[in-house]
């Protein structure tokens, strides 16, 4: 109490003398691209500062490749190379799915403190907040993709490099949309964070299985095929398989891009609406 009073009296006397204001630093107009870049850089800074956690994230796709791959090879009866050709693109879609689905989880802690609010008061475009955060998950995905491909190469897997690059762009577009949806769920669940995980777990596994990512749906019951046909992720998975195999002009690639762009459009629309509402 005394401290406060003394400070107050010491400085209170000079309150009336308002010094000439100093010119603020020049502020350039920002746009969607610079805003997105700045959000992305902010999100990546802790990753760069703690490379160990980034390295650790590389292990997950390798676990799937190492533990699920041999089972798939054994049960299909086809040569390992052929099975991996089918399976590796699926692993990368899965990594993208899980990574961008957690965009909202990262946001939950920022919402419970005030740092999300701070970014909302900053002159950042709302879309940049969504896109920048989703892209943060795409950057490690690139490294993961290269690593998985390298590990699979000795087992007869072949990769078409332009196809891989286009495939990553496709995953980034899908990831922006899916990340934005995850962000909206987090906003809607901000006062009950367990709810976020309930929704996350309830949706992510059906989406994953019904896309034919890990196991082919060709021999599944008809209702599963119908479900897969309305799952945008199925088209992304099919497109990735075509791209990795080097069939860049296949109709599946177009289907994948349409599905990814539609997801991005819906995700951003819902996300921006959620940000205005909550």
């Amino acid at each position: 109490m005394n401290t406060l009073t003394e400070t107050a009296t010491a400085t209170g006397s000079s309150i009336a003398s308002v010094a000439a204001s100093v010119a603020p630093p020049a502020m350039r107009r920002t746009n969607l691209a610079t805003d997105t870049w700045n959000v992305l850089v902010r999100e990546l800074r802790p990753v760069m500062r703690d490379p160990f956690s980034a390295l650790f994230s590389l292990i997950q796709p390798l676990i799937f490749l190492g533990l699920f791959g041999p089972l798939l090879v054994a049960s299909s009866g086809a040569p390992a190379g052929e099975t991996l050709q089918w399976f590796v693109p699926g692993i990368l879609v899965m990594v993208a799915l899980f990574g961008t689905a957690s965009t909202g989880a990262n946001l939950l802690s920022e919402m419970q403190t005030g740092s999300h609010e701070r970014t909302l008061v900053a002159p950042l475009s709302r879309s940049a907040l969504l896109i920048g955060r989703a892209l943060k998950e795409v950057v490690p995905l690139t490294v993961q993709a290269v690593l998985v491909c390298l590990v699979a190469l000795p087992f007869g897997f072949t990769v078409n490099v332009p196809g891989l690059l286009i495939g990553l762009v496709l995953l980034a577009i899908f990831g922006i949309g899916f990340g934005a949806l995850s962000y909206s769920v987090a906003l809607a669940c901000r006062s009950r964070d367990w709810m976020f995980w309930v929704i996350h777990q309830t949706l992510i596994f059906p989406l994953m299985i019904l896309s034919g990512m890990l196991l082919p749906l060709d021999d599944g019951p008809a209702w599963m095929k119908v479900a897969a046909a309305v799952n945008p992720l199925s088209y992304v998975v099919d497109a990735e398989r075509a791209l990795f195999a080097g069939s860049l002009a296949e109709i599946a690639v177009l289907g994948g891009f349409i599905a990814a762009l539609a997801t991005a459009a819906v995700g951003l629309a819902v996300g921006i609406r959620a940000m205005r509402r909550f």
Partner: protein, 338 residues
């Protein structure tokens, strides 16, 4: 700096909606320091969120630093600084990194950002912490970082929502030192909400009181106290009979062995009261004289005490914050002393 007319916010709810802010009018001139008081749920934070474009208003209009909150929210955001109730730095981020990101968010050049970050790190005593992770900072250190983040673009107008809630007395004093310095040096206009009446009393020359979504008083602290609450004089006696006799002689209310009375210029009234009781041969045991506080003002306006509600809130915030647990005791002692 701020001009609001009929600003209102109704939250949708069952049975017609909750009117959090009812027709709010406000004019704040450049360089003013305005303290915005009121109990929890009075609508202070909602008002702040309307003015900072965090929430869309449901009625009325406002311009903030010359920008209309509806038509040019981006313009408002560029011109203001806002320091909210929570920690505004990401917990996994490092102190200096957050300042660099914040500079980029406001469109500062790389060189300006670096210069501003280092300047703020120095002036807010964050030097030793610049490369620390935010989650490792104490409550007071986090608050200083919040201020630094809010000031990166040197805004002309700074909004602070409960800046000192949950801080120990020393950190509070330190925080205030920075806010007052800022104002003296750059003439920054400051609009803040607080639960701590002593802060508003000592530091702001203009006090606004809000209750149930409306502003119920707006004046200098001194004027509010003079017009709404007088000095409180308490006289103690040996027996209740003496107290009752004294009350009938000099006025006031007798409760047990005490008589309390409210008056203007209490220091002049006390000698007069003592002489008068002497003449009436009523033996007096003790006298206390207390200047009115803003809490008395609030009590006079609403019939409720702001201090109790504010204190309950402050303790809650602290209990949620593990780092601040040790501060809790200090703060309680301090409140008891006050």
């Amino acid at each position: 700096m701020i001009r609001a007319r009929g600003l209102g916010k109704t939250f949708p709810a069952k049975g017609g909606g909750v009117q959090a802010v009812k027709s709010f009018d406000l004019d704040v001139e450049r360089g003013e320091l305005v303290a915005f008081l009121g109990p929890n749920g009075a609508g202070k934070s909602t008002t702040l969120r309307l003015l900072t474009t965090l929430l869309p208003a449901t009625s009325g209009e406002a311009t903030v630093v010359g920008c209309d909150i509806r038509r040019d929210p981006a313009g408002v955001r560029r011109s203001i600084g806002y320091i909210g109730q929570g920690d505004s730095a990401g917990h996994s981020q490092r102190v200096r990194d957050e300042l660099l990101s914040q500079g980029a968010f406001y469109g500062l050049s790389r060189r300006d950002t670096l210069a501003r970050a280092d300047e703020l790190i120095e002036s807010l005593d964050l030097g030793a912490l610049a490369h620390r992770q935010v989650q490792a900072l104490s409550g007071g250190q986090k608050r200083r970082l919040d201020i630094a983040l809010g000031l990166i673009h040197r805004p002309e107008l700074l909004f602070l929502d409960e800046p000192s809630t949950g801080l120990d007395p020393q950190s509070r004093a330190n925080l205030w030192q920075h806010i007052v310095d800022l104002r003296n040096r750059y003439g920054t206009t400051i609009f803040l909400t607080t639960h701590y009446l002593d802060e508003a009393d000592q530091l702001a020359e203009r006090v606004m009181v809000m209750d149930h979504g409306t502003v119920i008083a707006d004046d200098t602290a001194t004027a509010l106290k003079d017009s709404l609450a007088g000095d409180l004089i308490t006289l103690s006696f040996e027996t209740a009979t003496d107290a009752a006799a004294a009350a009938s002689h000099i006025g006031g209310t007798a409760v047990g062995t005490r008589v309390t009375l409210t008056t203007h210029r209490g220091e002049e009234a006390v000698p007069h009261l003592i002489r008068s009781l002497d003449d009436a041969r009523i033996p007096l045991v003790g006298v206390t004289h207390r200047q009115p506080t803003l809490d008395d003002v609030f009590l006079a306006l609403t019939g409720r005490s702001l201090r109790e509600e504010g204190q309950a809130h402050a303790n809650n915030t602290e209990n949620n914050n593990e780092n601040n647990n040790e501060n809790n005791n200090e703060n309680n002692t301090e409140e008891a002393a006050a």
